[in-house]
Amino acid sequence: MSGIQVRSLKKSYGALTVLQEIGLEVQPGEFTVLLGPSGCGKSTLLSAIAGLDEIDSGTIEIGGEDVTDREPSQRGIAMVFQSYALYPTMTVRGNLSFGLKVKRNTRAEIEKRVSWAADLLQITPLLDRKPGQLSGGQRQRVAIGRALVQDAKLFLFDEPLSNLDAKLRTEMRVEIKKLHRELGMTIVYVTHDQIEAMTLATRIAVMKGGQIEQYASPDELYERPATLFVAGFVGAPAMTFLPGVYRAGGSPAIELDAVRVPAGSLPLAGPVGDGTEVILGVRPEHVALAEDGAVGQIVDATTQFMEPMGADTLGWFGLGSQRISARLAPQRARTVNGPVRLALDLRHASLFDKATERRL
Amino acid sequence: MAIGSRLAAQTALIPAMLIALVVYCGSTGWTIWISLTSSRMLPNNNFVGLRQYEILFANERWQVSVQNLALFGAMFIVLALALGFFLAVLIDQRVRAEDLLRSVFLYPFSMSFIVTGLAWRWLLDPTLGIAKIAHDIGFESIQFDWLVRQDRVIFTLLAAAIWHAAGLVMAIMLSGLRGIDQEIWKATRIDGIPAWRTYIFIVIPMLKGSFATATILMATSVVRLYDLSVAMTNGGPGIASEVPAKFVMDNLFERQNIGLATAAATSMLITVVAVVAPLLYAQNRAAAKAAG
């Protein structure tokens, strides 16, 4: 198993720059997820790492070797595709052994690896069937099996669960996580689903517009998002964003539209200039009703409406022209109305510079 | 893409490229060149400009060929389109035994032009063919001798050609009809529009693509018309059913006048380009518009 080093990777399609000088380092055994909305470049980055698409400039190292000019089959990679891409005229066994045959493995070796992978993924009874006779979930396993038999240094997954229904998706997610724990391979995984990313990854690279906004563990992304985009993309229900102005001094505060919030407990990286236009980000679970004894800065708000979500209810409150959401117990939510006092726990909040959208 | 595979791809295309360059482009170019020389039995390189063409267009046999083909071609395309379309519409009316009927209408297309020509020649034999049937029934005066009448023989070829091709047109039209949104019929029924109107003003315009395809196919085979003429009448009686393709063949191999033959062939080429190019252009435009 080995790591990846991507340096200054750039790719354009004509006038459109899809990847802008990307740098990424994946440690051996890590499960790295490339996360982002459509068009952010995550699939292009994966294709580039795989060697399926040519790049304009930059280098790619896999396992310490420079593979920038090499064909996919010479990079020591294996890949699982969104549509599984199984060879329709071959049996499952044929699909699993094709790559090995091309690389001239002995029949004994092929047999050994195919049985091992089939056993691991519980597809042994399907070995003599053709892809057309399999269900979506079974095909997915075969696709993963085809990757596993390769004994590759690096495993690439391109949105493998997008074509499955919700229930199957959850099951397969668990399977993939188990596989990673058992086999410890280095994985780069592309998805637009942040829940998938959060549950599977050791580190997530959140991408937007051809650049990596933040590359960190799920917890880090959640608690200390580096940019406004990451903060809004990760976590559901979403973080509330409140634009305002920062007032520095002995007792710093943020002037929002209607209220003034003392900002002493904000976890800032460094001093912030007085008068800076900022955006305060607070997650709903860090907003509570003051009368329940919650900790934090107190503000006055008016109740707007409740969104029952099952285990919790999301309460929406107005702060002047702005709106803030709070996670409440359903029973408690039912009793809330009119003017209330909210407690904002700013120790877990985020402050962003409005202009640069970066974390302060 | 690996160098190895890219090389393999280009190598794999060598036969096609060779053929395309040497045979297609090269031959066409050489034929055109020869038509501009004074070649007779063997090709020479005496450039004579358009003299062969002057001779060609003054040649009576050629003139008759061209007239025949023009008359034949126009009537063939129009009638085959009409019959094919009509048959397709009928079959589309949810008739029973549709498969059987379709087989019956389409099987002639699988037969060679020689077979077609010979079968029809027999059918239209002035003494023993349909004419005799009419006689036997009692219509003594009717002479069905179009096969040997100079002014009528071209229609015999026409009948055979339509018999051969109508099934093909029908198949193309049928798939076009089946591609039409069935909701249209519900809409016209609600509006009280009679079926024939719907067909003429709504369906036919929607089938422009199918009509274009069928027309292009038929136009291509019209210009190539040779086998049928040879089998049915061998250009006769006299030169009444000569066609350009036969003119080229005769001058190329029997009369040993390749200058004239290539001039004729080039004229055929130019005609085809002139007719097909605008049709293709229109088809492309329609496809591009549909793709939005």
Binding site: P72 | V95, M111, I114, A171, S175, A231, F253
Partner: protein
């Protein structure tokens, strides 16, 4: 399609009547051919064409097959039959092979010059054969291929290329690109992908191609006449010789038997292939 109350309205009756009459028109030549070939010559002269034979006999068929005169020799049209077979098998295989590889390379690999090559191939489909004849004859005599079996096979391959390339290219263009990616990750190159993956997937279109080529090559007349050589004349050419160059009395029953024999192979292909035949037309008809 009109909605129609089931049942025999006058319109419906008229519809079926017209269809039946049309069917009769289309079946007439075939019927007459068969019936004539089963009669004796006296009966042909006396009775009318549509009548069934009094005493059906296959004597005409036997004569057509084994002793009809094609020009100089009188060995029947069986000579032409076997020639056509000899021509057909290699021609079909070669034209499909070259067309398949070309279509595969054009659609899934796209090396340089693809658009131009494809454009030329498509344009050629419309050009009258007469334009190519003389240069080809000269070229072949230069290469020693004139009037030979390899010559006619080459010609069929050359002129089958546009249609074959078109249908294979269109077929392969519909294959999902991820399949190619998976194969490349597995390490397969151009020929490996073609042989192990694409060709097995292309069986339906190969069937269509075979139908088109078998019918087209068997029915060919002009190329066989020009390029095959006297000993290798295909059945169509022999047929024309038998019928059109008879001295003296014409034996119509023998002529018709010979015609039927020539038509048998394509007819058989047609009836066996059924829907596939129509699919073949659709595939070949989609030009440009």
């Amino acid at each position: 399609m009109r909605k129609n109350a089931r049942g025999l309205t006058p319109a419906r009756i008229g519809l079926y009547a017209f269809l039946v009459i049309s069917a009769a028109f289309f079946l007439l030549p075939l019927y007459v051919m068969i019936v004539t070939s089963l009669k004796g010559m006296p009966e042909i002269r006396e009775a009318n064409m549509l009548a069934l034979p009094h005493t059906p006999t296959i004597a005409a068929w036997v004569k057509a097959w084994s002793s009809a005169c094609t020009g100089l020799s009188c060995n029947g049209i069986q000579v032409g039959f076997f020639n056509s077979v000899k021509i057909m098998f290699p021609s079909v295989i070669m034209s499909i092979a070259v067309g398949a590889v070309t279509g595969y390379a054009l659609s899934l690999w796209r090396p340089r010059g693809v658009a131009l090559l494809f454009g030329i191939l498509m344009a050629v489909a419309f050009v009258p054969y007469q334009v190519f004849l003389f240069p080809l004859v000269r070229l072949f005599s230069f290469a020693g291929l004139n009037s030979s079996l390899p010559g006619i096979i080459t010609v069929h391959t050359i002129f089958g290329l546009p249609t074959m390339t078109l249908i294979f290219r269109n077929y392969f263009a519909g294959i999902p690109l991820e399949l190619m990616k998976a194969a490349r990750v597995d390490g397969a190159g151009f020929w490996r992908i073609f042989g192990s993956i694409m060709l097995p997937m292309a069986v339906p279109i190969i069937v269509v191609a075979m139908i088109l080529q078998v019918t087209g090559i068997w029915n060919d007349f002009i190329f066989g006449l020009v390029f095959a050589g006297r000993e290798n004349f295909p059945m169509t050419v022999q047929l024309n010789n038998i019928v059109n160059s008879t001295q003296g009395e014409r034996e119509y029953n023998v002529d018709m038997a010979a015609t039927m024999l020539t038509a048998l192979v394509p007819l058989a292909v047609y009836f066996i292939s059924g829907r596939w035949f129509v699919r073949g037309i659709a595939a070949g008809a989609v030009k440009g």
